[in-house]
Every structure is written in structure tokens, then in C-alpha cells.
């Protein structure tokens, strides 16, 4: 299960060579969600069980760090991304030491075989590179400056296993904390050296690949998703004194680039109802709409005195990565007669409209 899939790589290379830039999946965009690795994701909420590689088990402190990182990934995924659990019989081996297949300069590395398993390797404490000697912070009671934190590096690797590519930072790298899955790892005490949660741009890609957990859950602020708000009236023709219920529906626009988020119903937000008299240009706020019984809907009953237009408004929130929208207007006409008798059992039979 851990063998590199060479035929697939070569096929991919062949396609790339022949088609040039036709296929661009995974290309980084400026400061958006982490790019996605080719190969897709695991199943939603899939539990991936890992074990220590026989003969190459990590040192005890590194095991602890890796287990903590698995917990960090599970706790901060903010999506239906796969979770990681230690199981001595698990299919995914994690190794440590001289057998690491991380190239000349790698601190740690991974392979993944979606949807079955993954491998992960960590260099050993004291490994000598061209550029220096590896020191894991966890190996010290008081970690020295210049050490790499295994928990942080392991979280980076778990992010890769989920399908995350390396984040595309600003030139200054001032946004380093927006992602754990980075193009280079940092040592103590540099910014981000001991980050134990996925960054917002890691989470953004996880949400695209795996979806958010609930319709009321927040979208990563690293996203920039358009929404579409619609509105309907239970009746667009009422009589004086009658009422109509306005129902707004809020969704994420159904775009291929949004992955699993496209078309999502969006619940639990503040959607405001506005009205104006037919012919007027100014909208007047009526109030916040209540949460409907159907996911992503918002309702408010109205008893207009005359022909009225209504629209729903969702303002762009500052705490998540979806944009506001206003619905088209729906017109409700009011006729000047009283309510129509519906059944003979009604206690008060009134004259119907002409």
C-alpha cells in the first residue's frame, strides 16, 4: 500500500508534457486556500488508523508529539475531513530514523494512497544535513532556539495526507500563520514554529475538499465564496388584513471551484427582510427573519396594508468567508376586500372579493 504509484505519476507526466498547460489542477493562487494535491481526498469523516513502523518506531517523545498532532488535526479541521487515530493494527505506518524516504533535505515526508492509507516518516534526532543538524524540540526539557517542533511538523504532514498542498504566502511571508502546510518549516522561536491548529487557509481547502460540518458552521475566512439569496411569498395576492409569509433561502453559489461547498444551504445567519411600497425607491428594514424549518431558510410573516415589495438581505459577515447578497424583490398585492370564506365550518362567513 505504501509503494509509490509510478504508473500514475508517469501517466500524469505524459499528459502534462503532451497537453502543456491544459491541465492546471493544483496550481497555486495568490493567498487563497492551500492548493489541493492531485488524487482527491479521503471519504468524509473517514477514520484513518496509523501505527508505528516496525523496526523504525519513533522515540517516545516523538510518538507523543505525533499523537498530539493527530489530535490537533482532528480538532481543528473544521470540516468533514478524515480523522487520525492510533491503532497498533492500523494500515498507515509512521516511521522514524535512517529509513526515512524524505530526500536529501527533508525533515519529514509522506505518501498517500487515497482512499486506503498513508505513510509518514520523520528524520531522527541528530540527523546531519548539509545545512545543519536536526534537533527536535521535544527531545529537550527546555527546547533550545533552532529546534523544530515535531508536533507542528507532524500536523503539516497530516495536512498533506488530507490533500493539502503548500500554502502560497505573500512575498513577505507575513501570512505564515495562515497555514501550517508551508513551503518551509520554521524553528523556535520564529513565528509559527509551534502552531498546533490548522491555519485558516488550510481549513479553507479542507472545507472545499470535504465540506463543512453543519449548515450553520462558519466558512473559513480564507475563502471568498459568493452566496445567492432568493425570496418567495406564501401568497402574492392577499386581501386587506390578510398575511403572507416571506421565506428567504440562502445558499452558496453552486460553482465547480467551490468543491463540496458549492450549493450548500447556509443556516443560522442574520438575514434581514426589507420592504418598500410599489413605486418607491427606498427600502425600509422590517427586521431579522427567523430561522425556517428547512435548512437554509429564513421566514417572517407580514400583513401589508397595500401593494408592497419585499426583499431579503444577507450582509457580508466579517467572521467568515462568504459574501453577502440581496434577493430579487417579490411583490405582494393587497385587494380591498375582506378574507374569503374557505369552508362552511368557518364561524364567521365573510363576503368574498368580487
Amino acid at each position: 500500500m505504501t509503494t509509490i504509484n509510478r504508473p500514475r505519476l508517469l501517466a500524469m507526466a505524459a499528459v502534462a508534457v503532451l497537453l502543456g498547460s491544459v491541465l492546471t489542477a493544483g496550481a497555486a493562487t495568490a493567498h487563497g486556500p492551500d492548493p489541493a494535491l492531485s488524487g482527491g481526498g479521503f471519504d468524509q469523516n473517514q477514520v484513518i488508523r496509523y501505527r508505528w513502523r516496525a523496526g523504525s518506531e519513533p522515540a517516545a517523545v516523538i510518538k507523543t508529539a505525533i499523537k498530539a498532532a493527530a489530535g490537533d488535526a482532528n480538532d481543528s479541521r473544521a470540516s468533514k475531513a478524515a480523522t487520525f487515530t492510533y491503532d497498533a493494527g492500523g494500515a498507515s505506518p509512521i516511521g522514524y530514523g535512517a529509513g526515512a524516504t524524505c530526500g536529501v533535505n527533508g525533515l519529514a515526508c509522506f505518501t498517500r494512497d487515497v482512499p486506503d492509507d498513508f505513510t509518514m516518516w520523520f528524520r531522527e534526532q541528530g540527523h546531519v544535513f548539509d545545512w545543519g543538524t536536526l534537533r527536535w524540540c521535544e527531545a529537550y526539557d527546555t527546547p533550545p532556539n533552532g529546534c523544530y517542533e515535531a508536533e507542528n511538523i507532524a500536523l503539516d504532514e497530516f495536512g498533506h495526507v488530507e490533500g493539502l498542498g503548500h500554502h502560497d504566502n505573500y512575498d513577505s511571508d507575513s501570512d505564515y500563520q495562515d497555514a501550517v502546510v508551508q513551503t518551509y518549516s520554521r524553528t523556535k522561536p520564529q513565528d509559527g514554529w509551534n502552531k498546533h491548529v490548522f491555519g485558516r487557509c488550510d481549513v479553507a481547502r479542507l472545507q472545499i475538499i470535504y465540506d463543512i460540518v453543519l449548515a450553520s458552521a462558519k466558512y473559513s475566512t480564507c475563502l471568498d465564496l459568493s452566496t445567492v439569496l432568493t425570496i418567495s411569498a406564501s401568497s402574492t395576492q392577499i386581501v386587506v388584513g390578510g398575511s403572507t409569509t416571506l421565506t428567504a433561502t440562502l445558499k452558496v453559489v453552486d460553482s465547480d471551484s467551490y468543491g463540496r461547498l458549492g450549493g450548500n444551504a447556509v443556516s443560522g445567519r442574520t438575514v434581514t427582510l426589507q420592504r418598500r411600497a410599489v413605486g418607491a425607491t427606498t427600502w425600509i428594514s422590517v427586521g431579522a427573519m427567523a430561522f425556517g424549518s428547512v435548512t437554509g431558510t429564513y421566514v417572517l410573516a407580514q400583513r401589508p396594508g397595500g401593494a408592497t415589495e419585499y426583499r431579503a438581505v444577507f450582509s457580508t459577515p466579517s467572521t467568515e468567508g462568504i459574501n453577502g447578497d440581496s434577493s430579487p424583490a417579490v411583490r405582494v398585492n393587497v385587494s380591498g376586500c375582506t378574507a374569503v370564506a374557505v369552508t362552511k365550518s368557518e364561524s364567521s362567513i365573510q363576503a368574498p372579493c368580487a
Binding site: 500500500m1 509503494t3 509509490i4 500514475r8 505519476l9 508517469l10 501517466a11 500524469m12 507526466a13 505524459a14 499528459v15 502534462a16 508534457v17 503532451l18 502543456g20 498547460s21 491541465l23 492546471t24 489542477a25 493544483g26 489541493a36 494535491l37 492531485s38 488524487g39 481526498g41 535512517a98 524516504t101 530526500g103 536529501v104 533535505n105 527533508g106 519529514a108 515526508c109 505513510t119 546531519v128 548539509d130 545545512w131 545543519g132 533552532g146 490533500g163 498542498g165 503548500h166 502560497d168 512575498d171 513577505s172 511571508d173 508551508q182 513551503t183 518551509y184 520554521r186 524553528t187 520564529q190 513565528d191 470535504y210 468543491g259 463540496r260 458549492g262 450549493g263 450548500n264 444551504a265
Partner: protein, 186 residues
């Protein structure tokens, strides 16, 4: 909600004169497969990548490794190309994470145009180049040197010694790689 998340590139059986590199042998038991001969220097020493310093002109070949991206070389017009240190990468179904590396030494003139060549016939989707001062660590305070699509070319930084990082996203979802050079500008 119901959309598949898969972004697996289309696979095709295409006759092509690609040769699998001899180093394409990583398996589950896995042995390290250096992409360049490593010269071990004292801990925390500055870059002395003998492989890079001695790198011959890597004429483009059709060799691809299953485990690592191809090498990349930096050159100025009329100068000998120098193979960069391979840092963090994703490639195929795997990848490796590295620090900001010191880089392979190369000396260039002020204002010269630096070009990067990939030693394999694969396309470049996007690239970006940054630099930090020699000896600085961790990439904090990096300054951009350029970004865009192919070809990979940017002007040399001001006079001084710089650790230059070039990140390349390859076409077709093949992966990405980061390469480093220690550029002395005179």
C-alpha cells in the same frame, strides 16, 4: 454538497519517450534517495553544497523520478548553470518538508537576468521567487523577486549575498517544488 471532491488528473496511456529515472525506487521499506550528492558540513554551517557548486550544465533530459521533482538550475546569460538545493516539495502521491535552505552558491552581476531551467520536459504553471539575507533563517522578512508563469526569469537582487527561494507549481497537478540558491551579487 453532493459534488465529488476528487481532483485526480485524467490518466492516459500515452506513448511517450519518458525514461524512469534510476532513482525511482522508493517502496514501503523505503531508502532515502538523495537528489544530489550531499556534502555533510558541520552543524549549522552555512551552505556548502558541493553538488550544486560542481553541478555541470544539466541539459534537459527526459528523466523523471517517481519520488522527487526534477532538479532545477539557475543561470545568467553566458554563465554556467548551478543546480539548486531541493527543499520542500509535493510530487505524485507524496512529498517532503524542509526548512528554508541556504542554497547552492552562485555569483552573478548586478542587474543580470537570472533564469531557472527545469531538468525535465514538464511544464511550469506558476512560479515565485523570494530572497532573504544570507544567514537569515526562517524566511521572515522575505522580499519578492518575481512571480508569474513561464519562463522563470527575474532580475538579480541588489549587491550582496542572498538566499533565494524559487517555488514552482508544475503543470498538470504533478506537484510543486522549492529550490534554493545562495546568490552573491557583485
Amino acid at each position: 454538497m453532493s459534488r465529488s471532491s476528487s481532483s485526480r488528473p485524467a490518466l492516459a496511456i500515452v506513448p511517450i519517450a519518458l525514461v524512469v529515472g534510476a532513482c525511482a525506487g522508493a517502496t514501503s521499506s523505503g531508502s532515502a534517495e538523495p537528489s544530489a550528492a550531499a556534502s555533510v558540513s558541520p552543524p549549522d554551517a552555512s551552505a556548502t553544497s558541493s553538488s550544486a557548486a560542481a553541478a555541470p550544465s544539466p541539459s534537459v533530459t527526459a528523466s523523471l523520478s517517481a519520488t522527487e521533482p526534477p532538479t532545477a538550475s539557475l543561470a545568467v546569460e553566458g554563465g554556467d548553470p548551478v543546480t539548486g538545493q531541493l527543499g520542500t516539495f509535493t510530487w505524485g502521491d507524496g512529498g517532503s518538508d524542509s526548512p528554508w535552505l541556504p542554497g547552492s552558491p552562485i555569483t552573478v552581476g548586478t542587474g543580470e537576468r537570472l533564469t531557472v531551467t527545469i531538468a525535465a520536459p514538464i511544464g511550469v504553471a506558476t512560479w515565485s521567487a523570494k530572497r532573504i539575507s544570507e544567514g537569515a533563517t526562517g524566511g521572515s522578512g522575505a522580499t519578492g523577486l518575481g512571480t508569474g508563469g513561464p519562463p522563470i526569469a527575474f532580475d538579480a537582487p541588489d549587491a550582496g549575498s542572498w538566499s533565494v527561494q524559487v517555488t514552482i507549481d508544475f503543470d498538470g497537478g504533478l506537484g510543486s517544488a522549492t529550490y534554493y540558491w545562495l546568490v552573491t551579487v557583485r
